[in-house]
């Protein structure tokens, strides 16, 4: 694209971009400097100033407190992400390559599940988990995340498989490949980028989830978001610990975002731009 603009306009452009970048980074700056400060040095009037020396002990303390929650979140996110990706892939395959009468209606009805506020299903979910003895533990949370993850994983895979040319699947059919062979020989080998997008999206969502963590998990199974909320809750908190905890809770998803940003954005766009 031809952008014929004078040096004056360019200067304004960069000034605006740098200004906004500083605004967006300001919370991160405050978090990092507070986390590294000595608790005694944290005062409201010097909150913006750099720590006099790096104090790592807040991280040790935050790790000690959050490690069990982080472990829960990791187990939960890995299992639920795995299961919902597999199901999403198969569903997406059916809905893009084995269309049946009314498949669009079925797909639309499935998508509805990702837009509901989860408060509307929370009480029956709570009751159901209690009655099947899955309330309070990680398996119950896995079940919830897998079921309510189906719409988005199905959506991403369906859109992804729609781009695989029909010529490929048709020639496989002529060679006598049935439903499962076509999936394992043609579709699955081409699915890796789709899986990366879905893994990243689901892992981030599950790692960041809070409502189910606080309502459906007993203390021993609570995820990291609940642990952090408790660490930071209450009055008269020493801010170095919550800030160190925030960094720990943010680190896995932030790393994924920085390293695999391209795929992260694809997942982001998949959830909004029409199915």
């Amino acid at each position: 694209m031809n952008t014929r603009t004078g040096p004056y306009a360019r200067a304004i452009l960069y000034a605006a971009l740098i200004g906004f970048a500083m605004l967006f980074l300001m919370p991160a700056y405050m978090t990092v400097i507070t986390a590294f400060k000595d608790p005694a040095d944290i005062r409201l009037d010097t909150a913006w100033e750099l720590p006099s020396r790096l104090n790592w002990s807040s991280f040790t303390e935050a790790i000690e407190k959050l490690a069990p929650n982080a472990m829960n979140s990791l187990i939960l996110a890995v299992i639920a992400t795995g299961l919902s990706s597999i199901l999403g892939s198969i569903n997406g395959y059916v809905l893009s390559k084995w269309k049946f009468p009314g498949h669009e209606v079925v797909f639309t009805l499935m998508l509805f599940g990702m837009f509901i506020p989860y408060q509307i299903i929370l009480i029956p979910l709570f009751q159901t988990l209690r009655s099947i003895h899955m309330y309070g533990g990680i398996p119950g949370l896995v079940l919830a995340h897998v079921v309510y993850g189906l719409p988005i994983t199905t959506l991403i895979f369906r859109n992804f498989y729609t781009q695989i040319p029909t010529a490929l699947t048709e020639s496989a059919q002529i060679d006598g490949a049935g439903f499962f062979r076509m999936y394992s020989r043609v579709i699955l080998p081409l699915s890796i980028p789709g899986f990366v997008v879905v893994f990243i999206w689901q892992f981030t969502q599950i790692w960041n989830e809070f409502l189910w963590g606080i309502t459906l998990a007993k203390h021993s199974a609570q995820p990291i978001t609940v642990g952090l909320a408790q660490l930071a809750g209450g009055q008269a908190v020493k801010w170095n610990i919550p800030m160190a905890g925030s960094i720990l809770a943010a680190l896995p998803v932030l790393l994924i975002y920085i390293v695999l940003g391209r795929y992260f954005i694809r997942g982001l766009l998949a959830g909004s731009v029409k199915g």
Partner: protein, 369 residues
């Protein structure tokens, strides 16, 4: 062929059954629970006893004098939604246009604007609560340029503006709907569809006349005036939410701007259209479908702001309250399951108003392809 088609449906079936039960079945069950008195006694028993009492819980929520907090929560939800949608779309569009000018280090800037999106609401909330400490954080920044310290109390503020009496809500709603209809009528008129324009004007005028003359004959909801309005305590939470979601709308708009054919821009330049006019007159109208999606997605996120409010203001802060927070408190702290279910149903209906037309629209578009 037929056999494989049957296998395909059989493979899909478990997911469909799960969603039928966990989404549609559970929504129905929550609606049913909202019509009962579950929570009046022994709520947490394995098989709680309760009976259907009709719409009592809804009547209580909207007109019971104990539940003004729910009503303020609804008003808050409206302001959370409008300001988050407006703020994130405005800022996101601006950032997208800046990046569309192809600056150096575009990728770096994009990463910086989008990283908040990867964070949990709990992380965002914890950090912003520290930034918005009344006697420190953002409030102390003016000192560094020689200005007096900020005085705003953020989430502890008890100021309220744009106050109105709950009793006048039906009339206000009628005015609002009428205003939307009049805008539609003007658009239809300009598009030379005069009949349609007149057809839209008639209900608009009826509503206005009813609001002015008819609404005073409504039964009194409450024995005394109950004032609600925009709680300034919510501003900090809205700012944090915009910080988190502006990058998201930016990503949507960047994808949209990339999709505009280059020659359109070139033709515009040859015609002497300057750059600002290009964005205002050509690009933004082309991006209308994206704006539409962004409004839907953001509105639906704002109605799910539970975790952010929880982390920034706590669940007990009435000034920043939201139906989603109140549903949690009522159900899981107060054990009033039926009342909690009724709050959830109200919240759900507000989301459904946005989402169902959106899903129908995208369904039609897929069919048309």
């Amino acid at each position: 062929m037929r056999r494989d088609q049957l296998i395909a449906i059989a493979v899909l079936l478990p997911s469909l059954i799960l969603l039928a039960v966990f989404v549609y079945g559970f929504i129905g069950q929550t609606f049913y629970i909202s019509l009962t008195n579950w929570g009046d006694h022994a709520a947490l028993a394995e098989n709680p006893e309760y009976e259907v009492v009709g719409f009592r819980n809804y009547r209580e929520l909207f007109t019971g004098f104990l539940h003004s907090r729910f009503r303020q929560g609804l008003v808050n939800a409206l302001f959370y939604t409008v300001l988050l949608v407006g703020g994130a779309i405005g800022l996101g569009l601006l950032l997208a246009i800046l990046l569309d000018r192809q600056p150096r280090a575009e990728g770096l800037f994009r990463t910086i604007f989008l990283y908040p999106m990867s964070l949990s609401f709990i992380v965002t909330g914890t950090i912003w609560r520290w930034l918005l400490t009344p006697r420190g954080g953002i409030n102390s920044l003016p000192k560094y340029v020689g200005l007096p310290q900020g005085e705003f109390l953020w989430m502890s503020s008890r100021q309220q503006i744009l106050r109105f009496d709950w009793q006048s809500l039906p009339a206000l709603t009628a005015f609002l709907v009428a205003a939307v209809l009049i805008v539609l009528a003007v658009q239809a008129w300009q598009a030379n569809r005069k009949r349609r324009s007149i057809a839209v004007c008639i209900p608009a005028l009826t509503l206005i006349i009813w609001a002015i003359f008819g609404s005073r004959f409504l039964p009194r909801f409450l024995p005394y005036p109950e004032l609600h309005g925009f709680n300034l305590a919510t501003i900090g939470i809205i700012i944090a939410a915009i910080w988190q979601y502006a990058g998201y709308t930016m990503a949507l708009y960047i994808a949209g701007l990339r999709g505009i054919p280059v020659h359109l821009h070139e033709v515009a330049q040859l015609d002497g259209v300057n750059e600002i006019q290009y964005y205002l007159k050509i690009a933004i109208p082309i991006l209308k479908p994206i704006t539409f999606s962004a409004i839907i997605i953001l509105a639906h996120i704002s109605l799910k702001m539970f975790a952010l409010i929880f982390a920034m203001a706590g669940s007990d802060n009435a000034a920043t309250g939201h139906p989603s927070v109140l549903m949690y408190l009522t159900t899981f702290r107060g054990n009033k399951f039926a009342l909690g279910a009724a709050i959830a149903v109200v919240l759900f209906l507000f989301v459904a108003v946005f989402i169902i037309p959106y899903l129908i629209h995208s369904y039609r578009e897929r069919r048309a392809q």
